[in-house]
Amino acid sequence: MARRRWGRRGKQSNRWLMLAFTLGVPLFLTVVGGIPLGRLLSRVEVTPTPVAAAIAAFMLIAFFTLMLSQTLTAAVDALYERGDLDLLFSSPLRPQRVMTVRFLAVAAGVFWIFGYFLTGPLVAIAVQGHLPWLAGLVVLFALALASAGAGLLLAASLFRVIGPRRTRTAAQVTAAVIGASFFLAAQAHNILGEGRSQSLWQTIMRLARDPQVQVPGLDWPLRAMLGEPLPLAAVVAAGAGLFWLASAILGPRFAADAAAAARAGRGATGRTRTRFGAFAEGAFVTTLRKELRLLVRDPALLAQVLMRVLYMLPVGFLLLRQAGRGDDLLFPGSVAALCLIAGQVAGSLAWITVSAEDAPDLLASSPSPVALVRRGKLAAAALPLAVLLAPVLLPLLVLAPLAGAAASAGCAASIAAAGLMNVWWQRPGKRSEFRRRGRASWFVTIVELLVGALIALTAALIAMGLPWALAAVAPAALAGLILLALRRSDTQIAEALRVAS
């Protein structure tokens, strides 16, 4: 009874925490962004200069790219995860109407993600006497409509060109690449090297300022965001038009496509190699092989995880370029970033391998010790990271041995800490939930981040050499203490899982 009450209290406090977080983030953005910007706008007038227009257009392209990544995934989900589609299509409602509503929900969903962050600041600006700035939200919704239309057209085109079986994989990978492309573009100076990327940025700015090279209509997005009626109407018409076009073209076809997708799902999807090597032996090795196979064969998971791995790229390039160049703070900073990102990716993978078990009863009814199976699962989460980190860490160990050793140890500690947190605070779920959750829980996410940051700081201090390395003891000890405090025995884990179920 007490446990149940405790469980209820835990759930209630979680709800309050969630509510505080949900309201806190936009409030914070409003206070630090919207209010000061509103005041600034009372003194400075925003005019559609070529540079401002270029920046606004670039920002909208970035938003559109991120939205498209979301809507493409949502469109594919609408095709493959039938949910209530069978019921709706068998009702007297016209398929086109059903699909229009569904597409509209996709647009609303993506608008909500961006609107959540931008509504507060924009309202704060408007309240301070700049009402036309609310047009930014209208532009955002038009962008959401356009991205929904484009995502649906792209998904349907993939469906036509490469067929139902490959569309899902291709779309998921495309969505991940589209989503990451903006980040990679923003990090161009780390990947390409400062000289080349500066000239790229300078070229963009120079072209924006050059009266000879004016792109007609480039200032319309900015004018629309500032509330000018004609550009605003044009942007809304363009967004709504693309959405209407997608609905009109795809609505009638979507029912047939969804049925084809369902047939493809029922068929012999994904034939693995018929040649099969010798069986492995023992619970550890067979669990490791099973988890690696499942990771590799889930394109949606892989795309999500690879997207996080892409964030390592700029850091890796930066590290290798800076290695041996002396005492620039950028170098230990990169060591820290690499450790932190490695821990984050490990956390995601460990959640998939440890908690997202499709046949928990099979494991529970087997005579293999839980710890042995769990080690196999953690090894499966760590192995891909070891492979991904090796090309950065091995050269680093040669170019800057101390920093290389610090980064290697930091990454290993960070990966181990994330793995342990996911074992101690398991939250069983289905693999399909990964796209929505990505991690075990908010609590685990925050602790992973905190411990990862402390380990990263330790590695960075060691990479800076003496006397800084002496100070590394403090964050390392703190990380260790946090982990010790949160440690759970097998019995406690089993009890927590029982209460949760």
Binding site: E281, G282, R293, S366
Partner: protein, 253 residues
């Protein structure tokens, strides 16, 4: 001879509901035992406790004389558990699945590989060995799960509704397989709602209701108990599990 399974005073409560109530039953070695009962009678809960998936509140479970609560690993080594929903991984093919299950039960690799081939050929899945289970029909999935249950040659095979959703041909294949295992010396316990199956293949039948064993024996013994000489198992079952006034009045009892 030691019983294959011996349950003594087994009890399990979920909140206010007593799912299994002081259940005592024995399953002999080399017999096919049919565990029957209406929905919610406690069949699956009982079997899940035997398989080590649930901890009983009270009572004792012995598998071939081994105390399953004190030495769970030793007991699990002898058991195979196959629930009504096959425990499979959609993105593994049957061979990969069997490799994993054999690894969990510590079957040597060479023996496991040979056994996997034998089982898949026997169950007509050899040609599908390279295909992922996600594309399989219900029957193919059930057969793959059965192969997984048999890969370590269990002495006690526990099957919860093994014939649910299977077409006639596959159901026949599964029934033949179970009878073969029993002839080979294994013990099989199965639950089923298809009473004709229990009537045809079970050596002894236990009927539980409200978590208690209400009757047990061969079909003839059960008929004798109800006093209906030519009755079918369905008649006997309905007679023995007819709504009980005391339970109707107090569902939590």
């Amino acid at each position: 001879m030691t019983d294959a399974l011996s349950l003594t005073g087994l009890t399990k409560t979920f909140g206010a509901k007593r799912a299994v109530d002081n259940l005592t039953l024995n399953v002999r070695q080399g017999e096919l035992y049919g565990l029957l009962g209406p929905n919610g009678a406690g069949k699956t809960t009982t079997l899940r406790m035997v398989a080590g998936l649930l901890k009983p509140d009270a009572g004792r479970i012995e598998v071939f004389g081994t105390d399953a609560l004190a030495e769970p690993s030793a007991a699990k080594r002898l058991i195979a558990w196959a629930p009504d929903e096959p425990m499979l991984y959609d993105r593994l093919n049957p061979l990969e699945y069997l490799e994993f299950v054999a690894g969990l039960w510590g079957v040597p690799a060479k023996a496991a590989q040979a056994k996997a081939e034998e089982l898949l050929r026997w169950l007509g899945l050899w040609d599908n060995r390279g295909e992922r289970c996600e594309g399989f029909s219900r029957g193919m999935k059930q057969k793959t799960a059965l192969a997984g249950a048999l890969i370590h040659d269990p002495s006690l095979l526990i099957l919860d509704e093994p014939l649910t959703g299977l077409d006639a041909a596959v159901a026949r294949q599964v029934k033949d397989l179970l009878q073969e295992r029993v002839k080979g010396g294994a013990t099989v316990i199965l639950t089923t709602h298809i009473l004709e199956v229990a009537e045809r293949i079970a050596d002894r039948i236990g009927i539980i209701q409200h978590g208690r064993l209400v009757a047990e024996g061969t079909l003839d013994e059960l008929r004798a108990r109800t006093g209906e000489a030519g009755a079918t198992l369905e008649d006997v079952f309905l007679e023995l599990t007819a709504p009980d006034e005391s339970h109707a009045a107090s569902p939590a009892a």
